[in-house]
Symmetry: C2
Amino acid sequence: MCVFVREREMMKHYCIQFIISISVFTFAYSISTHPNTNLGSSSIFNTGDHNSNHHFTHTPVHPLDPLTVPEINNIRSILAAYEPFASSFPSVNTLSLDEPDKSQVLGWKTGDPLPSRRASVICVLDGQTRILTVDLVLNVVTHDVVSIGAGYPMLTNEDQIIASEVLFKDLEFNKSILARGVDFKDLVCGSSSPGWFGPDEEGKRIVKVQCFSGQNTPNYYMRPIEGLTVIVDVDKREIVKITDTGRDIPIPKETNTDYLYTTKNHFPDITPETNPMSMEQRKGPSFTVENGHTVKWANWVFHLKPDIRAGMIISQAMILGENGEYRSVMYKGFASEIFVPYMDPDEAWYFKSYLDVGEYGLGATAMSLVELNDCPRYSYYMDGVFASADGRPYIQPNMICIFERYAGDIGWRHSEIPAMGFDIRESRPKMTLVARMVSSVRNYDYIFDWEFQTDGVIRIKVGLSGMLLVKATPYENLSNISDTDEMTGTLVSENVIGVVHDHYISFRLDMDIDGTNNSFAEVNLVKEETLPGQSPRKSYLKARRKVAKTEDDAKINLKLYDPSEFHVFNPSRKSRLGNPTGYKIVPGGTAASLLDHDDPPQIRAAVTNNQIWVTQYNKSEEWAGGLLVSQSKGDDTIDVWSARNREIENKDIVLWYTLGFHHIPCQEDFPVMPTASSSFELKPVNFFDRNPILNAKPTFQKDLPVCFATTSY
Amino acid sequence: MCVFVREREMMKHYCIQFIISISVFTFAYSISTHPNTNLGSSSIFNTGDHNSNHHFTHTPVHPLDPLTVPEINNIRSILAAYEPFASSFPSVNTLSLDEPDKSQVLGWKTGDPLPSRRASVICVLDGQTRILTVDLVLNVVTHDVVSIGAGYPMLTNEDQIIASEVLFKDLEFNKSILARGVDFKDLVCGSSSPGWFGPDEEGKRIVKVQCFSGQNTPNYYMRPIEGLTVIVDVDKREIVKITDTGRDIPIPKETNTDYLYTTKNHFPDITPETNPMSMEQRKGPSFTVENGHTVKWANWVFHLKPDIRAGMIISQAMILGENGEYRSVMYKGFASEIFVPYMDPDEAWYFKSYLDVGEYGLGATAMSLVELNDCPRYSYYMDGVFASADGRPYIQPNMICIFERYAGDIGWRHSEIPAMGFDIRESRPKMTLVARMVSSVRNYDYIFDWEFQTDGVIRIKVGLSGMLLVKATPYENLSNISDTDEMTGTLVSENVIGVVHDHYISFRLDMDIDGTNNSFAEVNLVKEETLPGQSPRKSYLKARRKVAKTEDDAKINLKLYDPSEFHVFNPSRKSRLGNPTGYKIVPGGTAASLLDHDDPPQIRAAVTNNQIWVTQYNKSEEWAGGLLVSQSKGDDTIDVWSARNREIENKDIVLWYTLGFHHIPCQEDFPVMPTASSSFELKPVNFFDRNPILNAKPTFQKDLPVCFATTSY
């Protein structure tokens, strides 16, 4: 119980400090202050002896390699010497590689000198958002644009600190907290993005602060102080408005909210334990990671890097063709935006319509993965190298893991009934490679998997776990509630409502099938009626292929009763048989946004108006909700870009797909949610002349390891 | 190459014998003739030393245990002594347990005497289909009904032999074959069900025979003799009609068709090998199989048995509740029917609208699983015990496998940004249990997985592999084809078209949530508009719960833009908070049948008119396409039963779900298809008072095994 007590104490401390925790977090891993090798030492999990010294001297070897520690330090010096920042250094929001033009990257070969390295910097000074380009060869700022749009960048750590300071100094706020009978040492407050809902809140950078009680639980999310919302202007450092409507709503009790392993004895554990398993390879994993970012496995090679905003970026994914040469499949793929609208019009809830990628950042919220639990044994871990608000580099250790998977599945197989004792029983085990990252955007944990298969399929899977965002209610049992129709969610515990919400994860997939000149075809399955006397069959389906000319032709709403395949193909590259070589996108279980198209949250998340979009390639169009998303009016979304209705036939095109979840919470989601997943696939269609895994080798007994208990047990 | 040659010779033999191969197969494993331990000895895979002696003495211990070898022998004696069969023994089509009434099974406890054992026998005598019930206590036939409906049972082995004999004796047929220049030693013919297309073919049991060339390839499916169809009356033992329209269509060459591992050197193999993997547990698997059929794992217990028609039946699936007692989830679940319509109206193709479960049987076509490849190491294998056409028992060894899975996934997790060096990094690995069976229905391989999760989820997954059913064409390249719009499929090799088709797998899910009295609710997410001034938000979603009164209320077509959850719940059992305890069905990627509802194939496969149906429990309503499906008119389908529109509120109800695939073939499907999968879930919704895996144990280094290379390597 000693650990438990220690944790409790720290938890209290933690709660008080929560509002500035992002800041603490950042500095905690600034190389200038803490060597990151300390990370995880306080964890109950063995995170291994992670050595980051190489980061101090690392130099990029690939045009797409992320900025290194030395480069970030250099950029900071350049910015510090930059005249406009002479008096005061700006608050750095994002500082990342300004990737070379596609043509430069495609032209580059191993051994060539790298295209000149540039950084793109978004920072805030005196309430102004500036977008700079820093040239690392010339060592100067080459571009400096002051944003005049409505949108602001992600909240900075300073903004969080300011909000907390302003908050605790305010008399009315303190009264409200006292009125709830919450001890300040138990108070946990978090500031979130306010969305955009018209002129009232325009022209100033604000956050909306809401609080929880962390008394006797690490899971303060389940103990909301309902109805208390504080709007803080982070530039003027003042409170704009306090709404306190929920004083008659009790704060839910801590009962059953704790989920920590070290305190599991708080719960009855009646499920028999399963024996631990691990995926073992007696010859070790089959993949290699060259120069820290180039992943090679089976017939695949791709570039993988952490990104402060996208979390994880896959670049130049190529697969071996039958001639033994790598063929291009995708130039770049990543999660471009996430839309999370909650379905409650109340004052304290209506604004919860988060755009997690642009407002919080999937890399900024990605934590170190838990070895053996977030990722299996023999995983390769990749660190994130980012810049903190002061422009200094920091390391996010073990941010991405890469592992090989055998889940007992079958790659292909066929059996035939034997005659004269001879039978056909061919079967091949299915092996895949997974690149994984997890972002904890406040209460929610998003698990991102990019899974590569030897049959050419790429499966992109998103899993949701973590905690619900819950609403306190006076009711303890459904039987007390007269009109359950008026509830905006499910009663998941006494006084706790899990509010209905959606999740939409929009991926930007810059497909380059055998080159950059691609087209998009909708292969529609249409019912044909037979002619009288033609056939005893009355109807059958026929595949009708329609190539999209412009962006408007490729705005797709999926329809179960009007089904299509969606192909990206290279019109100038044919298979042996004359079929165009392509890849299709195969949607999995999904959901569509049903909000009014003119509802402010939907305007900003217009990418969810369709499940599929195809746009003409434009280097600057990477973020489906816009570059500067906080409080944006939705004037920089994919919907706006594609209004130009550009040509997309035989052009460099980008495929956009949105994975959707409707979430009606249930009691099983309390106090922490079992992972719910959905996925989609990128699948070769006449890209190969035949089944590319025809020659996959079966597994034989002799190939498998002999395993023993560890001596340490 | 010695193996290769040996196989070739046998292959030739095999090809000639193909048409009677089912028969050979059956006798080959009749215990009376061959001990099944010989099985697989000719395989290149080590199938282990499978011992079946226990089958000779096995006695049932659970009311749902399948018929045993002694019971089947006993039944055969009873039938032989049965007066109507005195002169000639009927051809036994199916002979399986007539399960006791649900109330008897639910009332039974371990140790109680078994309810009296009865067998249901479907057999054919003098062209008449008879359905008998045999009482194994009284040792008599208690019921004997002669079918007067249009439908016939599955093709029997005798029917196959008859068809082959009739065929080879026919001069016109022999001429046709000679005209194609096919050597008879290379000839492979198979008889398939003709479907039903009106009066022309009614009143007689017929099969449609089509042939292939097996010259120089085990993959004769890729070498069709196009346009030659022979209709055989298997009772009159005569040819009804020969259609030969394709003499000008070349038989596709054998090039690139061979997929056998032993001949893989026929292909370039440029993909680097991946190292073999296995899922290892140093304490061994966590599941047990009691008395051959009762599977216990983690918080689950269920009864599992092979079935000649359904393939695999899961019964009495129960999960531990928080009070430590097992709670009922599902009484019985299995694949009830499969519909596979091909989309080509030609004379030789229009009738291909197979109902695989009723016409071929998933158990009858399930072969022994390939160890280490179809199923991972440490799998438990279950044999099928069936009756052959002569009423004698035979064993299908290793027909089902059960294994525990760890695929590197996360059961639940949450991280939080640390303050003062303390962080929250909780994560739990996800372990599941899989029961798997594979049916090879001629060219197609269906992989069935029932996956049980500790969070209460049951995932039912179907994977498709094997070979395409292809059509020969004069064309070798798309550039030769003037009107590609008229093609009924994709050119997947020279002279080979992969014809567009669908697959629909309909599951019968007798859900019993905490008892037999259940209801079905559609929880519809509807868009609500806010009132002027009510909220800055214009719209939000609200969950509207509607309980179905009758079967008509529960005929569901899924709609992406009108989404719902679908709950089966127990109206008299509430959660701690007053929520009804239930399970929801979560559809995955699916497809809907678009054929005319009055098209003969669709009438017989009316179960695919909706994705979801709910019917009032009726023991006799198990087969969605009818009990006797061959040539049936569709007068015994779920559509007919539910026309009665029975009450389903607070009744014993059955949930039906159809998983769908549209398949537009591509070159990657040649010569053997990489597995394509889809799945759906049964997921607890307020069934548990909280996350049932809250206490799952993390994996620690010390729990994992130490593995070495095997010495044999």
